[in-house]
């Protein structure tokens, strides 16, 4: 019985591992490394890389700038409806990306909620780079906010009290105590959010379309090249795998993932230091 159970555990693990690793390995086995590098020089790839880098950088900067203070407030303040707010923040995590795309349309599209107001000031968002930025920010910000709240909650409240008795006002407490002590967790959340944003596909293709050089990001380019030039699609995919692996290894080396709520149970006791 014991041996049988041990065999069951080992087999399940082997099956899961094979299932997860095989497709990833297949990408590198299908195309020789030289061809991969060559395909990355293709004009479709280069355009998509530029669009991805540009839109992700702007979206990510905005998410960090707004998300960090917001996460601090949500972590430190106890107010009625806090649970509802936290749940609303997490809602985009469980939405299909296509729904996010439709939702953005409904809000910022011509016939959308803010369509008239945007039209009045001559701003049109759908199918522009601004639409890509909005889509990326929309899907990645819950990752950053969730991780950021967990990171700030893990800062020992006693240290914040100590800072206040030493004459530090709220802004100084944030800058000199909370922010540096939450930096590891914020870094992890930022990296995971960035990875999610770079990989954004569903919301972007609905809300921004797939115009080469304008709104076609790397994931959209994979989809576009899938019928036309499979090797280019493979090369871009390989690039994603390498960047993703480097990111994970870096985070693990710094031990930052332990701060990230995505890799921890939501209700686990928060770390005190």
């Amino acid at each position: 019985m014991r041996k049988l159970f041990a065999a069951l555990l080992a087999t399940s693990t082997a099956v899961a591992l094979a299932f997860l690793v095989l497709p990833v390995a297949a990408i590198f086995l299908r195309v020789p490394p030289g061809d991969l590098v060559g395909a990355l020089g293709h004009h479709v790839t280069r355009d998509a890389l530029l669009v991805s880098l540009e839109t992700s950088a702007i979206a990510h900067a905005a998410v960090l700038l707004v998300g960090t203070p917001a996460a601090y407030l949500l972590a430190r303040r106890r107010f009625p409806g806090r649970g509802v707010v936290l749940t609303l923040v997490e809602l985009p995590l469980v939405l299909p990306p296509a729904v996010a795309g439709i939702a953005l349309f409904a809000a910022f599209g011509r016939a959308g909620l803010l369509g008239q107001e945007l039209d009045a000031v001559g701003v049109q968002i759908p199918f522009t780079q601004a639409a890509v930025i909005l889509a990326v920010a929309f899907v990645e910000s819950p990752f950053y906010l969730r991780g950021g709240v967990a990171a700030f909650e893990a800062v020992d409240g006693g240290l914040i009290d100590a800072a206040r008795t030493l004459g530090a006002g709220p802004a100084r407490v944030f800058a000199r105590v909370a922010l540096p002590l939450a930096a590891g967790g914020l870094g992890a959340a930022s990296a995971l959010a960035l990875a999610r944003g770079l990989g954004e596909f569903g919301a972007t293709i609905i809300f921004a379309g797939s115009l080469q050089g304008v709104t076609q990001t790397l994931p959209l380019a994979i989809y576009a090249q899938f019928d036309q030039n499979f090797d280019t699609a493979l090369a871009i995919s390989a690039l994603f795998i390498i960047v993703g692996a480097l990111l994970l290894v870096t985070l693990k080396l710094y031990g930052w993932l332990r701060f990230s709520s995505i890799f921890r149970s939501r209700f686990a006791p928060s770390l005190s230091s």
Binding site: D156, L159, D161, A162, T165, L166, G167, A168, L181
Partner: protein, 341 residues
């Protein structure tokens, strides 16, 4: 003259802490069991918690007044707070910790003999060193009041004695209104000019450590001061003495007056031990088997069924005391204080 004046009602889980107290340039220690609201009281003075009502004033400044709706924020009060686990900033060096609130570090670091640790991080320090950094940090802003929350609790028993002596000297030198809370009567008695005993949200007694030891007002205070507290019924005894029939059976004699339900208060160091009742002036002899022996520094605490005796380690060795041995505990009727129950 700098002084801290409190008149507070502070709601706690089971009861409210009601306290009126004035602390001059002296060290006042409040002792009490955990849950007595000691930490909450310090947090309230610092502005980290809010009382239900009352006033907190310091050197003429009003920090809190519920009637006048005054509630100054912690950063606007002048408090040096040494937290229980010291709450040093782990990402800052000793020097950066000390200068966090402004001011210069070098003088304080030298005074507390930690200048060689200026560049070290808190994680590299021993318990005693951490305590000194916490003190230096609390003092760096020249606070008007010093608050110490269980300053000895995070130290191992080995370093406790020497740290206590140093802290005592420093507090004496500073002559700041200092409020210290602890659950340890010995810490309170060695560090403070006055000791208050907090039980059930009330200040049962406040006075010099010697006063509390020699004339505790009730059994609670006596027990906190480390006394054996034995319950019994008192009646008139021979030769102007009081006879106390203990609930556990034996009878003892006291020079104090009491009738009816009473308690005997007896400090462990007033009890001597022998194998047979000695023929001396002591009137009280209680027999019992030794339950346990615990060495505390150069003394040994010997627990008997009714009471605890404290004798020197040298005596314990000479008598070769072991658990299970039958001994006689003796004490004088003049040492057997009686209090009403």
């Amino acid at each position: 003259m700098a002084s801290l004046q409190l008149d507070l009602s502070l709601p706690l889980r089971a009861f409210a802490l009601e306290l009126a107290l004035e602390v001059g340039p002296e060290t006042v220690a409040l002792v009490g069991p955990s849950g007595a609201g000691k930490t909450s009281l310090l947090r309230t003075i610092a502005g980290l918690a809010r009382p239900a009502c009352g006033t907190v004033c310091c050197a003429g400044d009003v920090w809190f007044d519920s009637k006048r709706r005054i509630d100054r924020r912690p950063e606007q009060r002048s408090v040096g707070f040494v937290f229980q686990e010291y709450a040093l900033f782990p990402h800052l060096s000793v020097e950066q910790n000390v200068t966090f609130g402004g001011g210069r570090a070098d003088g304080l670091l030298r005074r507390l003999r930690i200048e060689q640790l200026a560049k070290a991080k808190p994680a590299e320090l021993s318990g005693g060193e951490r305590q000194r950094v916490a003190l230096a940090r609390a003092l760096a802003r020249d606070p008007k009041v010093l608050l110490l929350d269980e300053p000895m609790a995070a130290l191992d028993p080995h370093t406790r004695g020497s740290v206590r002596a140093e802290l005592h000297d420093l507090l004496r030198e500073l002559a700041l209104p200092t409020l210290l809370v602890t659950h340890d009567f010995e810490d309170a008695a060695t560090l403070a000019d006055r000791v208050g005993v907090l039980v059930g949200g009330r200040l049962r007694q406040i006075g010099s450590p010697a006063d509390l030891l020699s004339s505790p007002v009730d059994p609670f205070v006596a027990e906190f001061a480390g006394a054996n507290v034995l319950e019994g019924v008192a009646e008139r005894g021979p030769a102007g003495l009081t006879r106390l029939r203990l609930d556990q059976g034996p009878e003892v004699y006291s020079a104090d007056e009491a009738r009816g339900a009473a308690v005997l208060v007896l400090y462990p160091w007033e009890v001597s031990l022998a194998f047979s009742a000695p023929d001396d002036s002591a009137l009280n002899h209680l027999q019992g088997e030794i339950v346990s022996l615990v060495r505390v520094g150069n003394r040994v605490r010997v627990r008997l069924p009714f009471l605890t005796a404290e004798i020197t380690a040298a005596s314990a060795e000479r008598l070769a005391l072991r658990p299970g041995q039958r001994v006689v505990a003796s004490f004088k009727a003049t040492q057997a204080r009686l209090l009403d129950r």
